[in-house]
């Protein structure tokens, strides 16, 4: 068993609304998984279930534990950055670090001090005096200093300027990630993390509409840019989505060999943003 996360028929209802609808997937260790979906697709509910913050139906195992029932043990080995700031605003940075040192067995004070020394965050500063970017920086430094096996990031860079965002991902790779660690990340800024991912999962209306390794995407999906009669011919091969670009037609195909399309126009692998639109909108059409 190399799976770090294993979900089988996981469902979560809020009243009559199915926030997560019968999803099954595996995540192996050493991977960076991007969880992408429109607002209200069920991403955050799914993350909450993984973190044991909500009960759910079906079977869910994270690091071999049941997240809801064995949450305390699980928390020693997983970290979470939410899209909403969770660090108390009144606390001073050094007070926060002192506190973490007493409650978290795997937290390294020397490591966090070393990481924070590279930033402009002063130990005496209160969280509310820090800019949004600095709070995220502080949060990431704390998490990096915890020797956790799984890191869950929910819209970690939302509202940050481009410099902080770039730095965030650079630090994540430089200081946190290695082949023993696993990251699950959700974001709307798909282009920003596209090359960072080893795997991607699209979720819509509580269901998984794509679960693939980034390496497999070029074999699974192809975009054809074409026009006129060639476009008509290509339409017989059942594209999942079609859009107009500069008067040309761009058709997205799933599971259609490139050899079948090569004579009909220009071929390329769709980027994640285009693929996302094709999968979500194409399914609704």
């Amino acid at each position: 068993m190399t799976s770090l996360v294993s979900a089988r028929n996981v469902t979560k209802n809020y009243g009559s609304v199915k926030a997560v609808d019968n999803v099954s997937f595996e995540i192996e260790k050493g991977r960076i998984m991007g969880l992408i979906g429109p607002n209200g697709a069920g991403k955050t509910t799914l993350l909450k279930a993984l973190l044991g913050l909500t009960d759910c139906q079906g079977s869910l195992s994270v690091l071999g534990l049941d997240p809801f029932r064995q949450r305390k043990e699980l928390m020693q080995n997983i970290c979470f950055i939410a899209d909403v700031a969770v660090l108390p605003r009144w606390i001073r940075v050094n007070q926060l670090l002192d506190f973490l040192q007493t409650i978290h067995p795997r937290f390294s004070r020397s490591r966090v001090d070393e990481l924070l020394a590279r930033t402009k965050i002063r130990p005496k500063a209160k969280v509310r005096e820090l800019s949004k970017g600095m709070v995220t920086q502080l949060h990431l430094s704390i998490i990096t200093a915890i020797d956790a096996k799984l890191l869950v990031l929910d819209e970690p860079t939302i509202g940050l300027d481009i410099i902080f965002r770039k730095e965030f991902y650079a630090n994540l790779l430089n200081d946190y990630f290695d082949e023993e660690r696993t990251i699950i990340i959700t974001t709307h800024q798909v282009e920003e993390i596209e090359n960072l991912l080893s795997d991607v999962m699209f979720i819509n209306d509580g269901r998984i509409v794509l679960d693939a390794s980034m390496e497999d995407l070029p074999g699974q999906f192809v975009e054809l840019m074409t026009s006129g009669e060639n476009a008509d011919t290509a339409r017989h091969l059942n594209p999942i989505y079609e859009r107009d670009v500069f008067g040309q037609k761009v058709l997205t195909f799933e599971g259609v060999g490139r050899d079948k399309l090569s004579g009909l126009g220009e071929l390329r692998t769709p980027d994640l943003a285009d693929l996302f639109v094709a999968k979500i909108k194409g399914a609704g059409a």
């Binding site: 960076i32 991902y169 650079a170 790779l173 430089n174 090359n195 960072l196 080893s198 070029p218």
Partner: protein
């Protein structure tokens, strides 16, 4: 600074090409250390497996060698090998395209040669050829 990745080629392949270009330009010389996978991944915000795959290509081509616990290094004689391979590749793959373009545009070959035939560059290439 962010590199612009070309959509038609896998990134690991472009990474490989970039290192090769650095070798050909003499930025990386025989025996030099390649930047660590982690650093390249962080710098370009790439999945470390992508970087590793690019480096592995170079290892498979014999241009780079892995030294246990120390990282990746440019193999002795890599540059010479590379020049040989790149010349072959140019003549086999690119040159026919150039010739086709010249014909299509009805360019005057003598004039083209006169333009690139500066004494400095021809001396340079002569020296490289002797190196083989």
């Amino acid at each position: 600074m962010d590199p612009k990745w070309n959509e038609d080629l896998p990134i690991y392949r472009q990474l490989r090409d970039r290192v090769v270009a650095m070798m050909l330009e003499g930025v990386l010389n025989d025996g030099d250390a390649l930047p660590s996978v982690r650093n390249v991944a962080a710098e370009y915000r790439l999945n470390p497996l992508t970087v590793l795959k690019g480096y592995q290509e170079l290892v498979d081509e014999g241009l780079v060698e892995k030294k246990r616990g120390r990282g990746m290094f440019v193999t002795e004689g890599a540059r010479k090998q590379l020049l040989k391979d790149e010349r072959r590749r140019f003549i086999d793959k690119e040159w026919p395209l150039v010739v086709a373009t010249i014909k299509r545009l009805r360019l005057n070959v003598d004039e083209l040669l006169k333009e690139i035939g500066e004494p400095k560059s021809s001396a340079g290439s002569k020296e490289e050829l002797q190196g083989d």
